[in-house]
Amino acid sequence: MAAVQISLPLPVLPEGWAAEKDFKAVGQLTHATDRNIEPVGPHFLAHARRKRHKRTFSEDDR
């Protein structure tokens, strides 16, 4: 999918902010809900291919 364009600016880095390699993990995602994806359409077929062959998006791109 095309990148989302966001016109609001990112915040300025606060004074004194520091992290190893400029990155720090803070939390984790909330648990997800199991749902059925409708097995319909070209994008689902790509999903099914990845899932059945245990491939990632980037492997799929190649």
Partner: protein, 573 residues
């Protein structure tokens, strides 16, 4: 492709098989879906079979037999398939062959042979005959024998019903490659258009048919569809609209011909009244008035009359309101707000009715696009959506082995974790209370998923903070300022609102984001003036996340990741 492989020999079409009408569709060379007209030129083929001296009629010809030969005319049978006699509602069949109990299934007693003996024909056999006719029409058109199909079914079609339909189709020489849900077929028909763009959106499909109306709320995420909620109503549909017109014209007739009797009290008159009322109803979807004309409607008396659309809309207003209620109810069941709905796709024959589309448009916010012939110049024909979607799906899978299709549609593949909340970045400020959350990945997106955004930076460039969070959509309600007393001018500065008199009363409802949970922080340093930052988020199937941020056009970047939430013990949530 080797000739002996069965997929190579498939000729597949899409079939929409409704209680009232059926359609067949194929895809042309460039993958464009097209609904096929049968020998009579119909694209909406009444799902009716009728027998006259052993000869079988289908579609419009069979429908005409409802007047003289209703006992040997079978109609409204789709929903009986695979059902117990006790669980069916035979009401729609009052003016045609009555369903009866036969062993564990439903059947009809009809004279379907030249000898004129009454035979018991099961609903499965009727369906086979109907599908055989559809298959033959498609084969004639395509110049080769159709032997496979994707068939659309309602979202609440049971496994037993699907099994019965598979068998009935097989007996007609049609291999069911896959059943797909009617509303999903409608979304696919829209998404398959050349100009369509893949987007994340909530789509409501309102499928308004003849004897039932079904609404589905669908999360469309990167071209994948998940049904969040459905609502069904068997008491509102085209039949009720026909009834409104039947009552209207019957009363007009009685007024005009005191000795003519009530055409609703005689079977043949009733059938004529119904057929013509349906035709008038369809004409009123296009024109501002329509003519009703039936020869010998009752007691040998001809009857003609006209009705204008305004009158019809008044008579049917209660029913129109019921469609809107059903759609709103489905949105509520999905725990969403009308503001979350990007699009309403109107599907099914009754969706041609202009007033139904405009009523939905006024019940939903302006940001919701209603895709119907009367509200959108680019709308597809609502009567064709299911068949088109089925044909597109058929073209996508017809070369797969049956086993491949089975595996791909298995819950092992389809059941997938969907994100509870949106994942996005904070803009303007890094403080969750004052920053503005912008989503990259919407809630209800299946994982794994990869999304990216290109984000503006402060005017001077420099060092920026990328704060990745989970956000929750909230509905912000602003009550109108209490109405100023007569001396209105003194209230604030007058922003020359022309139409403020009415608008002022309404509260303003808007979507807003609240930060639920901070996930990670990254810094990008020394950005150029006017730089843009690309943020890419990769959520894995186990909910661990990888993230990559970089200056657009710049070198390097920052990469990081974080772990999946701790698994919950079974039953502890």
């Amino acid at each position: 492709m080797s000739e002996e492989e069965s997929p190579a020999q498939r000729v597949a079409i899409g079939i929409s098989f409704g209680n009232s009408y059926s359609s067949i569709a194929h895809t042309s060379g460039e993958g464009k879906a097209e609904v096929i007209a049968n020998e009579e030129g119909d694209r909406q083929i009444p799902s009716i079979l009728s027998y006259v001296d052993g000869e079988e009629f289908q579609g419009t010809q069979a429908k005409a037999q409802l007047v003289r030969n209703s006992k040997n005319t079978v109609a409204y049978f789709r929903d009986f398939l695979g059902q117990d006699f006790k669980s069916i509602d035979p009401t729609p069949c009052h003016q045609s062959a009555h369903p009866i109990q036969h062993d564990s299934t439903v059947a009809f007693k009809i004279k379907d042979t030249a000898e004129g003996a009454e035979n018991t024909v099961t609903v499965s056999e009727i369906t086979t005959r109907h599908i055989r006719r559809l298959k033959n029409s498609a084969s004639d058109f395509m110049g080769k024998t159709v032997n496979a199909a994707v068939i659309t079914v309602p979202t609440n079609f049971s496994d037993a019903q699907k099994e019965a339909l598979t068998k009935a189709a097989k007996d007609a020489g049609v291999e069911v490659l896959q059943f797909i849900h009617e509303p999903v077929a409608a979304v696919l028909a829209y998404d398959a258009r050349a100009e369509a763009e893949v987007a994340d959106k909530i789509v409501v499909v309102a499928d308004l048919g003849g004897i039932r109306s079904d609404v589905a709320v669908i999360a469309s995420r990167g071209g994948m569809y998940s049904i969040l909620a459905t609502a069904h109503d068997y008491d509102v549909g085209g039949t009720q609209l026909d009834q409104v017109l039947m009552d209207h014209f019957a009363k007009e007739f009685i007024k005009k011909h005191k000795s003519g009797g009530d055409p609703r009290e005689n079977d043949r008159s009733l059938a004529k009244l119904k057929l013509e009322s349906e035709a008038v109803k369809k004409a009123l979807s296009l024109g501002s008035s329509a003519n009703f004309s039936v020869e010998s409607l009752s007691n040998g008396l001809d009857f003609t009359s006209t009705i204008n659309r305004t009158r019809y809309e008044l008579l049917a207003s209660k029913i129109f309101a019921a469609f809107t209620r059903l759609a709103l109810h489905a949105v509520e069941k999905a725990q969403l707000d009308p503001l979350d709905v990007s699009e309403i796709i109107l599907a099914g024959g009754t969706a041609h009715t202009p007033r139904i589309a405009s009523a939905l448009q006024s019940a939903f916010p302006e940001s919701t696009t209603v895709l119907a012939p009367s509200t959108s110049p680019t709308a597809l024909n609502p009567s064709e959506l299911a068949a088109r979607g089925a044909a597109i799906q058929a073209s996508l899978i017809q070369e797969f082995e049956a086993e491949d299709i089975d595996q791909s549609t298995h819950p092992m593949v389809t059941v997938t974790p969907h994100l509870a909340h949106a994942v996005g970045v904070l803009c303007i400020s890094g403080d969750p209370a004052s920053g503005v959350f912008r989503p990259l990945v919407e809630a209800e997106t299946p994982v794994p998923v990869r999304r990216s955004a290109v984000i503006a930076t402060p005017r001077e460039g420099g060092d920026v903070l990328i704060k990745i969070c989970e956000g929750v959509r909230e509905i912000k309600v602003t009550k109108p300022a209490p109405k100023p007393k007569p001396a209105k001018d003194e209230d604030e500065d007058d922003e020359d609102d022309e139409d403020d008199s009415e608008e002022e009363e309404e509260e303003i409802r808007e979507k807003a984001w609240r930060v639920e949970n901070v996930l990670a922080e990254a810094a990008l340093k020394g950005l150029k003036k006017g730089a843009k930052v690309e943020v890419q988020v990769n959520v894995a199937a186990d909910l661990s996340v990888q993230c990559f941020v970089r200056e657009v056009g710049g070198k390097g970047g920052v990469r990081g990741g974080w772990s999946a939430p701790k698994p919950v013990e079974n039953g502890s949530i």
